[in-house]
């Protein structure tokens, strides 16, 4: 049983799934589902479509270089059946898969580091710049009770934001 990869999105195609197209120059294109087939027919480039693996790889969203990628490959050479080797391989598959998933999670965490702080910074900036949309500046001047008294207090970023939201 050979598990093929989709030409468009690079997902695994199990037997009995998807569709395959053989061009008149005998090139085979396999697709995991009609979504990928339709995108191919529309002549879309998988490198430019954001949900494909090819795009994610190219733009550093996924791991690109890893030693776990060396195990799964197309082997075009006959292998003599050996019960022990098969057993060991089946054991190794689970272990390698676990290692890869862990590494991928680490890669994702690394990539997402600092995102929350960045979002918060941007939100604070937007609030400062466009507070006039919520409350007219004249109204704030006329009624001093609306503005907070200017006292220098050491507060963390988040608390300062909450105060502004209340007014």
């Amino acid at each position: 049983m050979r598990l093929e990869k989709c030409w468009f999105c690079s997902s695994t195609i199990y037997p009995g799934h998807g569709i395959q197209f053989v061009r008149n120059d005998a090139k085979i294109f396999r697709f995991c589902r009609s979504k990928c087939h339709k995108n191919f027919k529309m002549k879309r480039n998988p490198r430019k479509v954001k949900w494909t693996k090819a795009y994610r790889r190219l733009h550093g969203k996924d791991m690109t270089q890893d030693s776990t990628f060396e195990f799964e490959r197309k082997r075009n050479r006959p292998e003599r059946y050996d019960r022990n080797i098969t057993e060991n391989t089946l054991k190794a598959i689970k272990k390698i898969d676990k290692v890869r998933v862990d590494r991928e999670a680490r890669h994702h965490a690394k990539r997402m580091k600092g995102k929350k702080a960045k979002e918060q910074r941007e939100a604070a900036k937007e609030l400062e710049q466009s507070i006039h949309m919520v409350k007219a500046p004249v109204a704030l001047q006329q009624e001093p009770s609306l503005t907070l008294p200017k006292i220098k207090v050491k507060v963390s970023q988040q608390q300062a934001e909450e105060n502004r939201m209340e007014e």
Binding site: W7, K53, A54, T68, R73, N76
Partner: protein
């Protein structure tokens, strides 16, 4: 590559897509054209005479995989935006292949074993 549609009055939509549909399967894919272009001296090979093709198959545009009736028409084609766009595309990175898809899926390079016969 739709041809001119004689009845359309609207200037922008004058191209007919009927011929495009008809010749869809005759035209080469991007990767086939790219491979053809990568071959050395692909440009100056004498073209085989084929009476079924326009201009006996002598005036051919490699990039767009099209035959033209005369040299003049072909040279006119070389000036079009479509052709220039195509040339630019073919100068870029190689089109997506099944191997690229496999590599993106986390597979290694295919293992073909040792070479049995030395060329």
């Amino acid at each position: 590559m739709g041809g001119k549609c004689p009845h359309r009055k609207v200037k922008k939509r004058r191209l007919s897509h009927k011929t495009d549909r008809r010749s869809k399967f005759l035209r080469k894919g991007d990767d086939a054209v790219y491979e053809e272009l990568q071959k050395p001296d692909a440009e100056n090979k004498p073209l085989p005479v084929d009476e079924d093709l326009p201009g006996m198959g002598q005036y051919y545009c490699l990039h767009c995989d099209r035959y033209f009736a005369t040299v003049a028409v072909r040279d006119e084609h070389f000036k079009t935006k479509k052709h220039k766009k195509r040339v630019k595309q073919m100068l870029g990175p190689a089109p997506h292949t099944q191997l690229d898809a496999d590599l993106a899926a986390g597979m290694g390079m295919p293992d073909n074993g040792p070479k049995l016969m030395s060329m």
